[in-house]
């Protein structure tokens, strides 16, 4: 099974490229201390707004901070926030989806109502509203993004559960006396897993994007934390004089998000046998 998966993965180019990108970002995040030549908040006022050169690969910003080091450290924030957000939202989303799909009836209606409610609002606006309520900080970013985006898990898990709960093997499990909890956990959840994996890999980049957007708007990570969105917004006033400040964090965001999206896409092809002809 696992052997199969690896060989399938190697065959799938989309997945390979995405995986390579993911590994490179992960590597940078883990070894940020070694890779970055300066600390992310080290200022050299004399060298402010210098062009990219040998000392400062990506140039410096208006306080003379090394943009390269800041982008490198930014990968940590992006990955951490992304992973924590996805953990929280998938937990909420999957549990609600399983409950709604399995029990149906009134449980289903209530959960579906809440899901539709969160789904109907543009995520960034809802996140903004929550942040203004809680106050801008990285922790609150995590909470707000989880609150806006769990619904995608619920919808898909619910739909899958509904079709699975009438499968003969679930009926058979009921017939030999399994209780509902066991049926959900041992019979339904593992069969929904492929879809969950795919949504997770697609939810991660959108979480990273949202974090950066909130950072850009000044509501996420607070300076001097080197969130990519924050660095980018710091660069905006100097976009003519020193475009590198905004360009490099932007590229970093694009690179990471692209990587995860490719992984998601590749996984979908690998895990869904119906797409294979």
């Amino acid at each position: 099974m696992i052997k199969n998966f690896i060989s399938e993965g190697l065959k799938n180019k989309t997945f390979c490229v995405g995986f390579f990108i993911f590994i490179s970002v992960l590597f940078i995040a883990v070894f940020a201390d070694i890779i970055a030549p300066y600390a992310y908040d080290e200022m050299e006022i004399i060298n402010k707004l210098t062009n990219p050169n040998q000392q400062h690969l990506f140039g410096t910003d208006r306080y003379g901070r090394d943009v390269f080091s800041r982008v490198v450290f930014g990968s940590r924030i992006a990955l951490q926030v992304g992973l924590i957000v996805v953990l929280i939202e998938s937990f909420i989303g999957i549990s609600l989806g399983l409950l709604a799909g399995y029990y149906g009836g009134i449980t289903n209606r209530i959960i579906l109502f809440i899901t539709d409610l969160t789904w109907s609002m543009p995520p960034i606006i809802l996140a903004l509203a929550i942040i203004t309520m809680l106050g801008p900080s990285l922790n609150n970013v995590v909470i707000s993004i989880a609150v806006v985006s769990w619904a995608q898990f619920t919808r898909i898990v619910r739909a899958k559960t509904q079709s699975l709960k009438n499968m003969p093997f679930v009926e058979a499990a009921r017939a030999f006396g399994e209780n509902d909890f066991n049926i959900i956990l041992r019979y339904i959840l593992p069969n929904v897993m492929p879809s969950i994996i795919v949504i997770t890999t697609l939810a991660l980049p959108s979480a990273i994007l949202l974090t950066s957007s909130l950072g850009f708007l000044g509501l996420g990570a607070q300076p001097p934390l080197p969130d990519w969105g924050v660095i980018l917004s710091n660069g905006i006033p100097f976009i003519r004089k020193a475009p590198w400040i905004a360009i490099f964090p932007g590229l970093a965001i694009a690179y990471t998000v692209l990587g995860f999206n490719l992984i998601g896409e590749g996984l979908r092809d690998i895990l869904d046998p119906k797409l294979k002809i």
Binding site: E171, G177, R186
Partner: protein, 323 residues
């Protein structure tokens, strides 16, 4: 009808489905009883309510279906009065069920072994013991290479093997009653024979009663003790195998028997029964079979026949047989 030996007796059971087109009464007022150590066959064509009866027995009828009347007495307990939790103690432990489609009845993501031990763990034995016992069970249902097969996934097994694993799981807890809902439908004849052999052994060794649901008179003749013939949600005839095979009384039963292929007769084309099962929403008046019955008289369209005794233990619902 209820005697002391009865393991299960169903009285006036009705099940209906509330659909947008109207109320479908899939099963209407059926009564029968199963004795201990008996193989009782429920026969009838597709859509006549056989499987619905089985699901009702397990209380597994799901929306929009509903049990609308009657009672099911199992070991002096009315199953319909039990709550959700009490039913968990009945299912699997006392009444088990084998399903029509062995190909989909096993969880595709669990290995055979963990699947089987899953069923045994419910008996409150340790996981380790269950793990060991699982292989024994797989051996018991005569699967070759049991040790190796135990570590396979369901898709690696043939239909017959899967059905045997299923049976193994269902009998591992030694139920008093096993419901076999067309256990051999998707299997070829040789496997069919093996499965029937296992079911027979089961009755002899553990003393389980079996409710066999099928449309195949061949199987019935081979292993059943008593038969009930169902038509459009009602039982039209009950009797033991000899009574029914020698002297079928209801015209429907007669026609069913007539449409069996026979090896010893040269008949050319197989006989068929004219028409098809009536719409369960819009049932004909009087006898439900009157539109297809070759002997149909005018009074058949007026009077709804009741079950009446032809001989001891042989009941039949047809007004014409009185003479």
């Amino acid at each position: 009808m209820t005697t002391e030996k009865d393991l299960l007796s169903i009285n006036n059971l009705s099940v209906s489905y509330n659909t947008s087109a109207g109320i479908v009464s899939a099963v209407e007022g059926i009564s029968f009883s199963i004795e201990e150590k008996e193989i009782f066959a429920l026969v009838g064509e597709s859509g006549c309510g056989k499987s619905t009866t089985a699901y009702a027995l397990m209380r597994l009828i799901s929306e929009p279906g509903e049990i609308t009347g009657g009672n099911i007495i199992f070991q002096d307990q009315d199953l319909l009065s039990l709550n959700h939790k009490e039913m968990f103690n009945i299912r699997g432990k006392k009444i088990s069920m084998i399903f029509q489609n062995p190909l989909d009845s096993l969880n595709p993501v669990l290995r055979i072994r963990s699947q089987v031990s899953e069923a045994i763990v419910l008996d409150k034995i340790s996981k380790k013991a269950a793990w060991k016992k699982a292989v024994e069970i797989i051996k018991e249902v005569k699967i070759p290479d049991a040790d190796e097969r135990a570590n396979s996934y369901p898709f690696e097994l043939s239909g017959g093997m899967r059905q045997r694993v299923m049976i193994g799981m269902m009998i591992s807890r030694k139920p008093k009653l096993l419901i076999a809902d067309e256990p051999t439908t998707a299997l070829d004849v040789t496997i069919q024979a093996q499965i029937l052999e296992i079911i027979k052994d089961l009755k002899e060794e553990i003393g389980t009663s079996i409710l066999l649901i099928t449309h195949d008179f061949g199987i019935v003749a081979e292993i059943a003790d008593r038969i009930a013939v169902m038509y459009a949600g009602k039982i039209v005839e009950i009797g033991d195998v000899f009574q029914i095979f020698e002297k079928p009384c209801h015209p429907y039963t007669q026609l069913l028997m007539g449409s069996l292929p026979r090896a010893n007769k040269k008949e050319g084309r197989l006989k068929t029964i004219f028409g098809s099962v009536p719409n369960l929403i819009n049932l004909p008046k009087g006898c439900r079979f009157n539109e297809r019955c070759p002997y149909s008289k005018k009074k058949c369209q007026e009077i709804e026949p009741k079950m009446e005794e032809v001989k001891k233990g042989h009941l039949c619902a047809c007004i014409l047989m009185r003479k």
